[in-house]
Symmetry: C2
Subunit: 504 residues, 2 copies
């Protein structure tokens, strides 16, 4: 314990040491928890686990669970199994919890990732009773140094009634100095956020703590869950190729240089593949301003392609985690982690002029994007930061494979079954077939590009048939409303969207 | 002419005086025009009219027409009649042009009003060949003082190849000093926009001109078209009452004070009625940060309720125009007009924490809003600034009457036929029936509030029937996709959305 205690510089806090079980015992039915954690990184681990144990032992209670984004460490899985969640926000990505959400057992509020902290500060969602925040250490001047993510930990610490800290000794002290913590304050009482460059520092190294709120400190020793990215396949490689082709055409047109603009890429295999595609490219002196830094960003740093990366979390595979934390000295001058209200802040995204790459579930012939709902009803993960970025980026790009389920689903449909991003916010769509540059185009101009460049050939005729029938009815955005969702209905009925054509 | 010439302080520009006809003769087929004008205010009048004359005399040509927002002075009407528009953006509100758009004769790109200038600066839409900008005068230091709107005139002047100026002597010189012109520069080369208060001044009094670009100056003498607001009716009064009731409940909850937050209200009769509702209220020391200032804002200034108003245009009724410009000394210290990239800038909207009130065409049981497309296909006016505001405001409020066409249309439907604002961006919806506060609610929690508080009683059972059937299928956002648009289809087939119930 002596060695560990060195991580708590203010002596006055030494007496707050408790077990995870004791800390978990303070949490009552109906309370709201604010947990650190963003895309499997830096999540509070021990206290949530101890809380689940209480339920396993027969206690009945429910809590609201706010986080930065998705959690690792099986927390959401255990929460779902234990059935202890009343309301969950703003994002999750766990199969069992997803199921509980889609049966209506857990209420889920799907928020833009930059919005949660605003709602907390404006006091319009339930206040956080206990913020449970993972950290590396507490500094002499009373700041909690976060670990591998910042997420909403700052706004939780500022607005919560009570704070429980998990000091994770499995997280290397080398991470101290990585963070830049800036609080924008409430809306209406806010100055311009002074960040003007990806590598700018505008805040403190840690989260200022109100010691009166710190009810307990728990020591843990557990690594983050590694990411589960699958390596690029032929299709994701093709998507990367098309996207890079588009960026090259922008350079030729004189609108970009080979340093592009700061890059944001959403989590997932496709985005990772796109970044990987930059390894063997002419692009250079790239910078990243994103939510999550995945493996590919570190490969790009190693290759000298990326000179700096700012984000809100580090979410790495097991292998990459070992390598990166093993030789962190190589990266520490090239990285900053920020609160998600800064990484995802419209003000900054628009100012820096990002190139933003996110994954769609489906998009329609006019360029509206569904990022969240399978068949328009079942939640996948959540909108995440895609809206923060796409709306405000200089280039809002969405990628998806043109078909799913061996071709029984077309990802390009007449009308998306749920709209997360409207045609106003979508600049370019990319599939393994090609890309469609929608900027400055009227809806009727978008359709041929999307069908011919992005839809799978097996669905092109079917899309043209829909559009031609719609065109006869006219309008700015021609539709045959009573058939707009017939593809989804067909899939539900017969297991394929293709059936429509065969029935003709 | 001698008196008029005093409005052109730089003598070097005196030789650029031309007739509207001559200026219009420079415009060739295929060119792109950037016209001043925002919601009928400050539009270029003479040169566009002279251009139409050329078409009337038998010339065949088409031009792209970019503006701030909608035009007055019958410009869009004449353009549509003459059939000379290839592409129009980012907004319009004229019946004949609407018709040409919906037949596909004119291509229309419906943009967030803050986005057009970004696209011009990033060079991703056709460059402006001729900016045609109305002004009051040209200052000694070479700045064009705009008239009753700023719109996109600054970005047109900065990016256009050529500039034609219309100096309108019907616009009083008293307007000099009203404007605050700030150019945010390109994305990626931009500092924080330093505006932190509604009455802050961050720019110059006029638009800096590159004299080399100024090809001609035309004198005009024509007032703006007055606004066509209809006075509040029983229903708009009820909507105002409910909305004010909601704001009062926010004060009671300690989340707002009686000064509220800076107010934005979209153009139109409902928004005007809401502001009128504040005349006889306890609210005081209000400020306005909006796109358009309509009559009601001046009544609120007269009543001492509004202490300052910032916008991008003044759009007044004929009577109000006379009064306000007749005694402009009463208002000039309480008003600022800004470029729409500042009035509608996400950075500023979010910083100031606006209360944003805009009109919906329809919304659905989950809170998604259609602002633009009648029956999902036919363009009404455009999204305008509603997206800039709703996404970034502290409170994004949408208002609409619960029914239209004597009850044959329900404005609350199972699934909106076009999505402009997703449930992520809609905080409160209001009809004459009541309001639903959707903040922090999961989709399933939103439905009962929307049906019971906002839908017209004649449609409530029908909405419940849909929702109950959807619930049996489950999901985060339960839907019966094959019936989602059946209300719209029913209206198209039989002239009423109610028929569905009678057919049961």
């Amino acid at each position: 314990m002596g060695g560990k205690l060195k991580r708590i510089h203010p002596r006055v806090l030494h007496e707050r040491l408790v077990s995870a079980e004791e800390a978990a015992s303070w949490i009552n039915d109906g309370m709201t928890l604010g947990l650190s954690g963003f895309t499997r990184a830096g999540d509070a681990k021990a206290v949530p686990t101890a809380l689940v144990e209480r339920a396993k032992k027969g206690e009945t209670f429910k809590v609201n669970v706010y986080t930065g984004a998705s959690l690792g460490s099986n927390i959401d899985k255990m929460f779902a199994e234990a059935g202890i969640v009343a309301k969950r926000l703003p994002f999750q990505a766990e199969p069992l919890m997803r199921k509980a959400i889609n049966t209506g057992e857990h209420l889920f509020v799907d928020q833009h990732l930059s919005h949660t902290s605003e709602m907390l500060r404006a006091d319009v969602i339930d206040r956080v009773d206990y913020a449970i925040l993972e950290g590396i250490s507490i500094t002499e001047d009373g700041m909690l140094i976060p670990t591998t993510s910042v997420g909403n930990s700052l706004s939780f610490a500022e607005t919560a009634e009570n704070i429980i800290i998990e000091l994770n000794t499995a997280q290397p002290e080398a991470l101290v100095g990585l963070h830049d913590i800036y609080s924008p304050n409430k809306q209406g009482e806010r100055d311009p956020i002074p960040l003007t460059k990806v590598d700018g520092r505008i805040g403190t190294l840690g989260i200022p703590l109100d010691f009166d709120k710190v009810k307990g400190i728990v020591f843990t020793h557990q690594e983050d869950s590694p990411s589960t990215i699958v390596p690029p396949d032929e299709e994701t490689k093709m998507m990367a190729k098309h996207l890079l082709g588009f960026l090259r055409s922008e350079i030729q047109a004189g609108r970009l240089t080979e340093s592009l603009m700061p890059l944001q890429s959403g989590i997932g295999s496709v985005a990772n593949a796109v970044l990987h595609g930059m390894l063997d490219s002419e692009f250079e002196n790239l910078v990243v301003y994103s939510e999550v830094l995945q493996d590919a960003v570190f490969d790009l740093i190693d290759a000298g392609k990326v000179t700096f990366a700012s984000a809100c979390s580090l979410t790495l595979s097991e292998e990459k985690m070992k390598q990166v934390f093993g030789e962190f000295y190589k990266y520490r001058d090239k990285l900053i982690l920020r609160p998600q209200e800064i990484s995802n802040q419209p003000e900054i995204i628009r100012r820096l002029g990002l190139i933003s790459i996110n994954t769609a579930l489906e998009f329609d012939i006019y360029g509206n994007v569904n990022s969240t709902h399978v068949s328009g009803t079942k939640m996948m993960n959540g909108i995440g930061g895609s809206g923060d970025f796409a709306r405000n980026a200089r280039l809002g790009i969405f990628v998806t494979k043109s078909i799913a389920k061996d071709g029984d689903i077309s990802s390009i449909v007449p009308f998306v079954s749920h709209v997360d991003h409207t045609e106003h916010d979508v600049d370019v769509v990319v599939t393994e077939q090609g890309y469609a540059d929608l900027r400055g185009l009227a809806p009727r101009e978008r359709v041929p590009l999307i069908i011919e460049n992005c839809a799978h050939p097996m669905y092109r005729e079917q899309l043209w048939d829909y559009y031609k029938e719609a065109l006869e009815r006219g309008g700015q955005t021609p539709h045959v409303l009573e058939k707009a969702f017939s593809w989804h209905a067909s899939f539900k009925e017969s297991g394929t969207m293709r059936k429509l054509v065969e029935q003709k």
